[in-house]
Symmetry: C2
Subunit: 212 residues, 2 copies
């Protein structure tokens, strides 16, 4: 089984590395980071993190699992024909096509979520209907072979849920134990329904500024 994690300039690192840490523990799986060009790809946060794409998109044409992270760099990829063509071709042969955060907007832009239920970062949910997808507020959404996760850290939950489908509950729980994923956030502010209202409004305002 081959797992391809797609990188592009200004992706969000945890979107990719969270599910990587889980899914790469599928026995016998080959996990490969891919991008248009091989070499380090810089993240959204001032480019202070560089993750190496070991293969080009062209070199990985039939992955079993496709995983697309999100990040502010997603906006610049929405009309990247080469990437969208690759996503369509890879999806045609994949067993699972997945995303974290605004990665779902790239799947949607490739036409892969038309008529499907999906999720994204909470600030981006309203964009999904423009591509025929039905947004949901669930953290991890399975619709057939399409698995989309909410913002950034949700990719860990998505990875574990998908691992359970592929390898069974015991293996998924063993990986949860190994990664000591017993979350104890010091605050309860991880969703717009839980965070203080002024922080939600600040985030919406900042988002409108970025998107405009």
């Amino acid at each position: 089984m081959q797992i391809a994690i797609v990188l592009y300039d200004r992706f969000t690192a945890l979107d990719a590395v969270g599910p990587y840490e889980v899914l790469s523990r599928i026995p016998g799986a080959e996990t490969v980071f891919v991008a248009e060009q091989a070499g380090p790809v810089r993240n959204d946060n001032g480019g202070t993190l560089g993750l190496v794409a070991d293969r080009t998109l062209d070199e990985v044409d039939r992955p079993d699992i496709v995983l697309v992270p999100g990040g502010p760099g997603q906006i610049a990829q929405m009309d990247n024909v080469r990437l969208l063509d690759w996503l369509r071709a890879a999806d045609a042969a994949s067993t699972w096509t997945t995303s974290v955060c605004t990665g779902s907007l790239l799947l949607a832009a490739a036409g892969l979520l038309d008529g499907r239920r999906a999720t994204s970062h909470w600030l981006a949910l309203d964009t999904l209907p423009e591509f025929g997808a039905t947004p949901t507020s669930e953290r991890v959404v399975f619709d057939g072979k399409y698995v989309t996760a909410a913002g950034v850290s949700s990719g860990i939950d998505m990875g574990l849920a998908l691992l359970g489908r592929i390898c069974g509950d015991d293996h998924a729980m063993a990986v949860q134990l190994l990664t000591e994923y017993d979350p104890q956030p010091p605050y309860d502010a991880g969703s717009p329904l839980k965070a203080p209202a002024h922080l939600v409004e600040n985030a919406r305002a900042a988002s409108r500024f970025i998107m405009s």
Copy 2:
């Protein structure tokens, strides 16, 4: 403020990237991945992930925050004099000295946790007393300027807790909201107290095999 995240061969990626995603959002902070040599450093999982160290240890001698991830590669670093010397020197000037997972064993080997309460991956807790540290089963342990986190994913909780200390609760909650850290693991098996007993025993047996 400068944050230095230490990389070494066969580190665990999420140990580093979880707290990176949070702490790099300290306003005005410079976050830098460091290693003995600059360039891509390969992780524990077959080396399928390469994270770029942009600076050498020698180039970053007075970070405000030191963060040491864990991973099976930690074992080979326990007598790496160059790394341990760097940790001692960096710690002498740091505001916070932190670790995730078995990264705490490197802090301990450098003599920095002597007489302190600390944590580590649950499979490694018993090693801490060999270096004069008192292990606890808390997920995130503050003892003065020393902050240690439990296994792998706990670095996210540590990062948020530390962010709150440095920037205040509002900023930490804003980052939690931005990263949509509202964890909903599909299983409740993330600690040895919660996972099925046979999985805990399997993990202990595998660990003994690795350490022997």
